[in-house]
């Protein structure tokens, strides 16, 4: 198995004709992802590398039975595009777009509560189930089919972690970048739950960073509901405090935004901490050998 995407994924791309959309759609197709449709309002009826382009998502889904969407729509229109995909009943929407106004996402996340659509992102690199399907920006060739699930708030740091795993001969089941924005559709806990239930996954690598409480939430879930081992790294131990968080924002999160607090919470929940970003792969190998 794997989670969220596999060989049965039929991908549609919103914003397929834009420069980023077309570039990454081609990379996904090269990897083996079944891209069945594109959507760009006004360009319906045309073809993109043999893939039919539609004006609207609803139409595209009806004609092609697409069951996932990858979104490269500019930030001013991205909220609208996510809502359109959810309205059309697309079960999985992966929003790559960075820079969506926060208040737009407040409305989007509320709307999604009434729908069965799962949103990954926004401001994320996407996800990959190695050897099966890639929906995102990550370089496909650093991945390898295997038993480690990777969940991360970062893009390139995830590539770094995955490359370390692959170099040690440790493959991955599914790797997901949840996105760097404060408001995201799918969080660590959602993904840990899916990976806990995935028979292919034997270990999970979690890559966190400073800000928010996602790592503490994950730690609570790990302690109470995860049977699979976790290896964690939290970036930003050297980051200066107060550069991103406003005064009142800190009321909500308190001092929990620091790397130290997050590492302590994950460690107390039983996760094995990689103390250096260069040791994520090695730490995973040690834990896998220990649990074998």
């Amino acid at each position: 198995m794997s989670i969220l995407i596999d060989e049965n994924t039929r991908l549609l791309v919103q914003g397929i004709t834009g420069s980023e959309g077309s570039f990454h759609t081609r990379r996904c197709m090269e990897y083996g992802t079944k891209v069945v449709a594109g959507v760009t309002p006004g360009k319906g009826g045309s073809l993109f590398d043999g893939v039919p382009v539609f004006n609207r998502v609803e139409e595209a889904v009806k004609e092609t039975r697409a069951n996932a969407s990858m979104l490269f729509v500019p930030p001013a229109f991205a909220a609208d595009a996510i809502l359109e995909a959810a309205d059309a009943g697309v079960p999985l929407v992966v929003c790559i777009t960075e820079g969506i106004p926060t208040l737009d996402m407040v409305g989007v996340l509320r709307y999604l509560k009434e729908k069965s659509t799962r949103l990954i992102g926004p401001n994320c690199p996407g996800l990959i189930s190695p050897g099966k399907c890639k929906v995102g920006l990550m370089p496909g060739d650093i991945h390898m089919l295997g038993e480690v699930g990777v969940v991360s708030r970062s893009g390139t740091l995830t590539y770094e972690a995955v490359a370390q795993l692959t170099e040690l001969g440790i493959g991955q089941s599914t790797c997901v970048g949840v996105g760097g924005d404060p408001l995201i559709g799918t969080n660590f806990v959602d993904l840990l739950r899916l990976l806990e239930g995935d028979s292919q996954t034997k270990l999970v690598v979690l890559i966190g960073e400073i800000g928010g409480t996602a790592e503490q939430d994950a730690a609570r879930f790990i302690k109470s509901e995860m049977s699979k081992p976790i290896v964690a790294f939290v970036a930003g131990s050297t980051a200066p405090p107060g550069r991103r968080m406003g005064h009142a924002g800190a009321i909500i999160t308190g001092s929990s935004g620091t790397a130290k607090e997050k590492i302590a919470a994950l460690s107390a929940a039983g996760a094995t901490i990689a103390s250096s970003p260069a040791e994520i792969g090695i730490t995973a190998r040690k834990v896998l050998e220990g649990s074998a």
């Binding site: 909220a79 960073e209 970036a235 050297t238 009142a248 909500i252 250096s276 970003p277």
Partner: protein, 423 residues
């Protein structure tokens, strides 16, 4: 009031005639909240009917004197800086006369104000707000932010106003009332009443307070703020409510529908190199160490800083060139990195994905041509077009130390800084 709660998410910002203006590339920008001054925040809140003290902004002692004499009576001179804790740092003073206002403004304008929110060097004061002094009976707190866990705006109110609200939250969290605003319903009067009664206001203040909270919420929503705060919101002895201080941070992501916001920015309050970086759409934060680094992606950039520290050095900066960088952006980034005089060695760590390693290599080579490279440079490249990037660097004739992986890179930059390793 509360009759027009349309959430901005459904507002007509998606008008199609604006398409061309908004055809922005999806580029990596640092998540930053744009700050504005107190006097600007008060001007904005006043437009929403929120009562603020009378006053004006002055950039010279003479202007301060003029405003003070227009106001008549006792005035308060407040340093305008992007930091809190101004009172304790000597940035807020009371004057009995216009002459005293001029003298105090003379002292404050031009000083470097050090508070618990600034570095030891403080921030420069170029402007002061001259306001009527207000008699205070009670000090309250009002603030609005987006609670990311709940994915909803939350309005916070407290009777413990005028204090460091983080401290109140940490020590006596029960003193902070919270009310969430449902995105489909928007602000409603009952939310305002809940907070107004919760703050134990006088019966005759309930209605104006409810109205004020509603107006504050509309200001927050219309301006796409990431934070709005009135601390303190005072009750005067005659029972009026007044926003004695105001803070408004704007969501950088929403600049696309507020094209006038960049004009509100005060470049004098920001680090010169950080401003230069922002111009090129780069995310740069200056730190105190001596190992400069340039990385693609915020997470990897932070991890690179972490590993620099782990090998015993201190990072000089955070610099994320992002995913959509071109040669020119990389050249600017590398130039900015090297203009920090503290930098004794530089590390370029790139994991090519969207961003190709050969683009980074070309940018670095171009920058090194423009400015003399005086410090050792360690480069580690992986991912898309890494071999091409490494080849370009090797053939450029630049004294570049190539590294195999993250650990190797960190160890080499440390060794190079200490003169133990040369090309």
């Amino acid at each position: 009031m509360g009759s027009n709660p349309t959430p901005s998410v459904f507002s007509p910002f998606m008008l199609h005639e604006e398409v061309n203006l908004f055809q922005l590339e999806i580029t990596k920008r640092g998540v930053r909240n744009m700050k504005i001054h107190e006097y600007q925040a008060k001007e904005m809140l006043a437009k929403y009917g929120i009562p603020v003290p009378q006053g004006g902004m002055a950039t010279t002692p003479a202007e301060a004197e003029e405003i003070a004499s227009q106001l008549g009576g006792k005035v308060v001179i407040k340093a305008q800086v992007y930091a809190g804790g101004r009172g304790k740092g000597g940035g807020i003073k009371t004057a009995e006369s216009p002459e005293e206002a001029e003298r105090l403004a003379q002292e404050i304008i031009g000083m470097r104000l050090v508070t618990h929110q600034t570095s030891d060097k403080g921030v420069p004061v170029e402007k002061v707000l001259v306001e009527e002094a207000v008699a205070i009976a009670r000090e309250l707190y009002l603030g609005i932010v987006i609670d990311s866990a709940a994915a909803q705006p939350v309005i916070m109110a407290s009777e413990a106003g005028g204090m460091d609200i983080e401290e109140v939250a940490a020590k006596t969290p029960e003193k902070i009332l919270k009310a969430y605003v449902h995105p489909a319903i928007g602000f409603q009067s009952f939310i305002g009443r809940k907070l107004a009664y919760g703050m134990n206001l006088d019966p005759k203040q309930i209605r104006p307070a409810t109205q004020l909270i509603g107006n504050l919420y509309r200001a927050f929503e219309d301006s796409d703020a990431s934070l709005v705060e009135i601390n303190p919101l005072v009750v005067t002895p005659d029972g009026r409510l007044l926003a004695l201080d105001a803070k408004l941070n704007l969501d950088d992501n929403a600049l696309l529908r507020h094209r006038d916001y960049p004009e509100l920015r005060d470049p004098g309050q920001e680090d010169e190199l950080e401003l230069e970086a922002a111009k090129h759409n780069l995310s740069y934060i200056k730190l105190d160490g001596d190992v400069g680094c340039m990385v693609n992606g915020a997470g990897l950039a932070m991890a690179t800083m972490d590993i620099i520290k782990l090998v015993g050095a201190e990072p000089a900066n955070f610099l994320d060139v992002g995913g959509g960088a071109n040669d020119e952006m990389v050249t600017s980034a590398f130039t900015i990195l090297l203009s920090d005089p503290k930098v004794k060695a530089a590390l370029v760590n790139v994991f090519g994905g969207i961003l190709r390693c050969d683009i980074i290599a070309r940018g670095v080579i171009e920058a090194a041509k423009q400015i003399e490279l005086k410090v050792p440079l360690v480069v580690r490249m992986r991912g898309t077009n890494a071999e091409e990037g490494m080849r370009l660097l090797a053939e450029s004739g630049l004294p570049v130390i190539l590294a195999q992986n993250l650990k190797d890179a960190a160890e080499k930059v440390m060794a190079a800084k200490e003169g133990r390793l040369t090309v």
